[in-house]
């Protein structure tokens, strides 16, 4: 039966595709978990670490809107501290290493934030 050959080829292709991540992992070796490098001595970011991990994108988005659309630059953090809302001035003073800090997780999960469509990427040695 000629058609059976076609069916089995199709089935094999399907199984191969369905297991693509397994092949890729076998080829590239198990990926290591990213470890964003923190170079600052400060103990805490503008908000607690857990909160920053989860919601940094929303915080940055809110900062952008407040600064660009309303011209306000002062952020009142949950613990009562005030911070100047500025990506390059505030964030990057502690995290100047975009490649080792931001990109570590973003690349790992193929997240492409559009920060750098307006901001100039920091020049780093890679």
């Amino acid at each position: 039966m000629r058609d059976r050959a076609w069916i089995f080829i199709g089935l094999a292709a399907f199984l191969a595709l369905a297991l693509a991540p397994v092949w890729q992992s076998a080829l590239h070796g198990a990926a290591r978990k990213p470890e964003p490098k923190i170079v600052t001595k400060a103990k805490q970011c503008v908000e607690p670490t857990a909160e920053m991990r989860r919601n940094h994108m929303e915080l940055l988005n809110a900062w952008r809107d407040t600064v660009v659309r309303r011209g306000q630059r002062t952020y009142l953090a949950a613990d009562g501290k005030t911070v100047t809302m500025s990506l390059s001035g505030t964030c990057m003073s502690c995290h100047p290493n975009k490649k080792e800090f931001c990109d570590a997780c973003h690349n790992y999960l193929a997240v492409s934030p559009y920060c750098w469509e307006c901001h100039i990427e920091p020049k780093e040695k890679s």
Binding site: M1, D3, R4, I7, F8, G10, L11, F14, L15, A18, L19, A20, P21, V22, Q24, S25, A26, H28, G29, A30, A31, K33, P34, R53, R54, N55, M57, E58, N61, C105, N107, Y108, L109, A110, S112, Y114
Partner: protein
């Protein structure tokens, strides 16, 4: 109402995973069941396909939906009535990728005075296409959790899917379309008395289940903002066969994974095997060329009809009387 049972069942499954994961069942919901589910899915689908392949195709029975290839000056419908294997393959692929048969759908209604009217009805086609394609995109996007480095094409799909850059994390069009299409497909089963009448548990359950998968995913991405670095660690652990559950995974992640595991397990035993079956439909994947090339039936029964000799013997005198020529005088 059958739909209630399906929704309830999916709800209960979600709760089981939610509380089970928190009660120490993380390895069960994150490792054991996903592995089992994947194994059942792959073996199950393969067994179904092999089962179909083992059945023979004794006759060449395409449903012809257009002009046959006959005289050279008559234009044949090379897709709807293919006369070559290539045409039949194209017919199947178009069926798979564009749901062409469903596109023909129309609605017949009986009007006053016993008159039928036929109107185009593309809603089912549109919703089915929207559902399948958005589900495909969502599926492909998830590849980012299973591969390191993430292939460029996945990033490209994500970029396209999040093209509108609305919200943070960016809202994916596919998520909205998927939930909306599922909602419509579920709604139409309930709203149309005819469909309600024919719908089984097996029709509501997959819709409810996929809806559960989609909604838990939406919650994870847009609301609970799970720690996806940890999720990817889990996923990579699974595909590299070094499974481990990292700390700090949101219990909702286990709900999502568990519902997907249920879907994978359920898949080979359900109507969802139409995914593979559509390729094998003898009314679609065969060319209408039976008069050009003989199709062989592997079990062609050795049947001989009433032979001429027997017939002539029975009607001999009548044949002679009416002057019809005989083999034996």
């Amino acid at each position: 109402m059958r739909v209630v049972w399906s929704l309830l069942l999916v709800g209960v499954l979600a709760l089981i995973a939610f509380f089970g994961a928190q009660a120490g069942g993380q390895a069960l919901f994150g490792i054991v069941l996903p592995y089992l589910a994947m194994a059942v899915f792959l073996v199950g689908v393969a067994a179904r396909v092999v089962g179909w392949a083992r059945s023979t195709v004794p006759f060449r029975i395409p449903t012809t939906c257009g002009q046959e290839r006959s005289l050279p000056w008559i234009k044949p419908a090379s897709l709807d009535n293919p006369s070559t294997g290539l045409g039949a393959a194209a017919r199947v692929l178009l069926e798979v990728f564009t749901f062409r048969s469903l596109f023909r759908n129309n609605r017949s209604e009986l009007r006053e005075g016993g008159r039928f009217t036929f109107s185009a009805d593309k809603w089912l086609w549109a919703a089915a296409l929207a559902f399948h394609y958005s589900f495909l995109v969502v599926f492909l996007r998830h590849y980012r959790f299973f591969a390191e480095p993430v292939p460029a094409v996945v990033a490209w799909i994500q970029g396209l899917d999040g093209f509108f850059q609305v919200g943070l994390p960016v809202v994916y069009v596919s998520d909205i379309v998927l939930v909306a299409a599922l909602g419509y497909l579920l709604w139409r089963r309930l709203a149309d008395a005819r469909l309600r009448y024919i719908s089984l548990h097996a029709d509501y359950f997959p819709l409810a289940l996929i809806l559960g998968v989609a909604l838990s995913g939406v919650l994870l991405r847009y609301f609970s903002k799970a720690d996806i670095v940890a999720v990817k660690e889990l996923a990579i652990g699974l595909v590299s066969f070094h499974p481990a559950v990292p700390k700090g995974i949101d219990p909702l992640v286990f709900v999502h994974i568990f519902l997907v595991s249920v879907l994978l397990t359920y898949f080979p035993f359900s109507k969802l095997v139409h995914m593979a079956g559509v390729f094998l439909s003898p009314t679609r994947n065969l060319a209408n060329d039976n008069r050009m090339h003989r199709h062989v039936n592997p079990w062609n029964p050795p049947i001989v009809g009433h032979t001429y000799a027997e017939w002539e013997q029975e009607f001999h005198d009548k044949l002679v009387a009416s002057g019809i020529p005989l083999d034996k005088e």
